[in-house]
Subunit: 139 residues, 2 copies
DNA sequence: TCTCACTTTAGACCGCTTCTAAGGTTCGCC
DNA sequence: GGCGAACCTTAGAAGCGGTCTAAAGTGAGA
């Protein structure tokens, strides 16, 4: 059973066939899909699933805190089922592919007190950008 | 004369009245505007300027590397005329206020080779989040 | 079995951005 | 200055990601 489904069930969330397919699609890969990519892959297993259901379901998973929503420059949102918040993201400037990466230091420590403008800083996300092997070969 | 206009001129970029107004609007504030906010402010000085021109011009400035395009977790992109690429952003989770900050380390150095998944990594941006003094006081 | 709350669906709708086609402006060159 | 080519601006249409609506379907508990 999908681990994400287990986590969702704990919220007393009704696990319908549609929701199961969406959860398993999200979790089945180590890349982060857009909503439309999730829809496309879910359709392979359940052709009649609707766009609205995919959007609703993804938003509900985000609201439950079991999925993280990532919005990046000029592209569509992507969904990360990884509950471990201690990771960052690597994005291909060519095709938008997104992967998780683990850096070795905590970026909050890199920000000196006099650069904090009086803020209480609670989190730091690092976005690495570059070209994936496929896009580099195509260039 | 606007410093951004000077920098743009160096690219052999034709400085039309519209482009000048847009550049000066961008640079005249320390806030990062959305395209529509730029349009609105440009219209105060040049009422007949068109939406397409604002969008085109902002995109061209970004392509020239003189303006940075930012997408916060919200809807529309914002434009940062600060050509110094060596800075990051601090965002208030309460009110959305965004400020530039300077960190002491280069995040790319903290990403081990075996976490790069074959990518050619060219840049890293850090987004710090927290609460600004006003929002902390209000909470 | 009945009921009522929850879920799914198709398609309309919305906001931001880009594209298109037409007309205007500027520049180099003579 | 006059000319032509390249460039720029414009209004409006179109595209796209995402949300909303209204109606139909589903299912757990009384």
């Amino acid at each position: 059973m999908s681990d994400l489904v287990t986590r969702l069930r704990r919220h007393n969330w009704r696990i319908t066939p549609q929701r199961r397919v969406i959860a398993e699609t999200l979790e089945g890969s180590h890349v982060h899909y857009t909503a439309d990519e999730v829809l496309e892959r879910a359709c392979e297993r359940m052709p009649e699933i609707s766009r609205a259901t995919v959007y609703n379901t993804l938003n509900e998973m985000v609201a439950l805190g079991e999925v993280i929503e990532l919005s990046l420059q000029g592209r569509s949102k992507r969904y990360d089922p990884n509950a471990d918040h201690d990771h960052h993201h690597l994005i291909c400037d060519g095709c938008g592919l997104m992967k998780d990466v683990h850096a070795v230091a905590d970026p909050i420590e890199w920000l000196p007190g006099d650069e904090r403008h009086g803020f209480t800083v609670t989190s730091a996300a690092v976005t690495y950008r570059g070209l994936c092997p496929d896009c580099r070969a195509a260039a």
